[in-house]
């Protein structure tokens, strides 16, 4: 079985030079975020320095939503016959991985922040519960991606699973919000949102969003490239195993391509 590269779509999303540009820009923005977030922005009147966690918590949450949105879009583009290409499958997988990592980071940072400010590591707030379910939804998707299968079989299976997860998110959000608001009226977040935000605080948040978005683009391309290399290696392993069999050598242990 020889894989036709042209039918599989491009080897890379962007040129290595462009990727490096994104990497450097992300690094610069991260540096700026560190300076503004830690030194320029004043400590919060109520929360003190703990509030500085928000400068990475909020951008991480934004990145998680962006990543899952891209996964859903890419999965849809894969399933649509006219745009079907493994490019979209790889983008969906790479983006979902980033999404899960940054959802996990969001939960972790929120928890670290909640301990000094709320006094608890975890609260059954609607938004927290929704984010936790979101994390597990896409963790399952990543588990499905790990199952060895022919590339097009895996791509179709995963695209459908990604869209199911995406459809489920609003239902989860709606039901959880309903559940919590039926029991407790004010959620902890409301007073937060109404609070006046100091100018440099808002600046730190925006720089954070920019830095994380640049980082996302950089990592997405890197992960995409890795996926291509993984596919290549599997194909080479398979060809080597076939060659061994043909030449009468002892059968070799190899990564299964078909489950």
């Amino acid at each position: 079985m020889s894989i036709d590269r042209a039918a599989l779509g491009g080897d890379r999303l962007m040129s290595p030079v462009l990727r490096r540009v994104f990497g450097v820009l992300a690094l610069l923005a991260m540096g700026a975020l560190t300076v503004i977030g830690l030194f320029v922005a004043p400590p919060d009147e109520v929360q003190g320095d703990a509030q500085r966690l928000m400068y990475i918590h909020v951008p991480a949450a934004w990145l998680a939503y962006l990543a899952f949105g891209v996964t859903a879009l890419a999965s849809g583009l894969y399933l649509w016959p006219r745009t079907r290409s493994l490019v979209w499958d790889r983008v969906a997988g790479a983006s979902a991985e980033l999404g899960v990592i940054f959802t996990g980071l969001t939960l972790l940072l929120g928890s670290l922040w909640g301990r000094p400010v709320w006094g608890v590591w975890w609260a059954w707030d609607a938004r927290l519960v929704t984010t936790a379910v979101l994390f597990f939804l896409y963790l399952g998707y990543l588990a499905l991606r790990q199952v060895p299968a022919a590339l097009d079989v895996r791509a179709k299976r995963c695209a459908i699973a990604a869209l199911i997860a995406f459809v489920d998110v609003p239902i989860v959000h709606f039901s959880v919000t309903w559940w919590r608001t039926l029991h407790q009226q004010a959620t902890v977040f409301n007073s937060e949102l109404d609070a006046q935000i100091h100018g440099t605080m808002a600046l730190a948040l925006w720089v954070g969003v920019l830095a994380f978005t640049l980082l996302y683009v950089y990592l997405l391309d890197l992960r995409y490239r890795l996926e291509v290399l993984e596919e290549d290696r599997e194909e080479r392993d398979l060809e080597a195993a076939i060659a061994d069999r043909v030449h009468g050598g002892p059968p070799r242990e190899t990564v299964g391509v078909n489950s």
Partner: protein, 224 residues
């Protein structure tokens, strides 16, 4: 043959196999009752704790049993090339989905009916208002059966499917657990009127995933 007739054919096949195998009666129902006993061991049976949390325990047990049911529903197709013959039978993919999900829903409803008796007897639960309770249960069951069948075919042919299906299915049916538990709570001791919004949510979930299943089943069966 119409879609409904084809679906009835597939459902009839699955239910006939299950009726002859007697796995529900001999294994899944005893499993559910044992879980109820275990809940009593784990929680305090004396201070009304069980009675208060009975709806949640009931639906957790149903989800666990559903995982077993999904696994059985697709192991039926795994042997003797049954899946290939199903694929080549000329039946519409949507009909096969409706049939298999329908059969699973019927089995779950039988299980739930027996488990309800267990909850009433063991946990001293009084079912105050039956209409929202029954409608909520049916809608939740259809939702679980539809998503379960969808993930069942998605994972069919995968060696790790026994562990993969729970990881994929449980987060997706989280709203069903929430809605079903709340509608049961309201029907048992709260205001029955509070149950109806949850019943509506369960209905929306069921309709949505029956629709997705009908669309997605054909390509998934093809690839499995």
């Amino acid at each position: 043959m119409s879609l409904v007739q084809e679906a009835a054919l597939v459902a009839g096949k699955d239910l006939r196999i299950e009726a002859r195998a007697k796995v529900i009666g001999q294994q899944i129902v005893p499993f559910g009752l044992i879980v109820l006993l275990l809940f009593a061991f784990a929680l305090d049976p004396d201070r009304g704790v069980l009675q208060r949390v009975a709806p949640g325990l009931f639906w957790i047990t149903v989800l666990l049993a559903a995982l077993l049911g999904i696994s059985r529903s697709f192991s039926l197709e795994a042997d003797n090339g049954a899946r290939d013959s199903l694929r080549m039978s000329g039946l519409d993919g949507a009909a096969i989905f409706l049939g298999k999900a329908g059969a699973l829903a019927v089995q779950l409803l039988v299980f739930e009916a027996l488990l309800t008796v267990g909850v009433v007897v063991l946990f001293d639960v009084r079912l105050a208002s039956l209409p929202p309770l029954i409608m909520g249960t049916v809608a939740a069951t259809v939702g679980i059966a539809a998503t379960g069948t969808l993930y069942g075919v998605l994972a069919a042919g995968i060696r790790a499917r026994e562990t993969l299906v729970p990881v994929l299915l449980l987060p997706v049916v989280a709203p069903v657990l929430l809605g079903a538990t709340r509608s049961w709570e309201s029907s048992i001791d709260g205001v029955p009127g509070d149950a109806w919004p949850w019943v509506a949510l369960l209905g929306v979930f069921a309709v949505l995933f029956v629709g997705i299943g009908m669309m997605a089943f054909d390509p998934l069966l093809e690839e499995a």
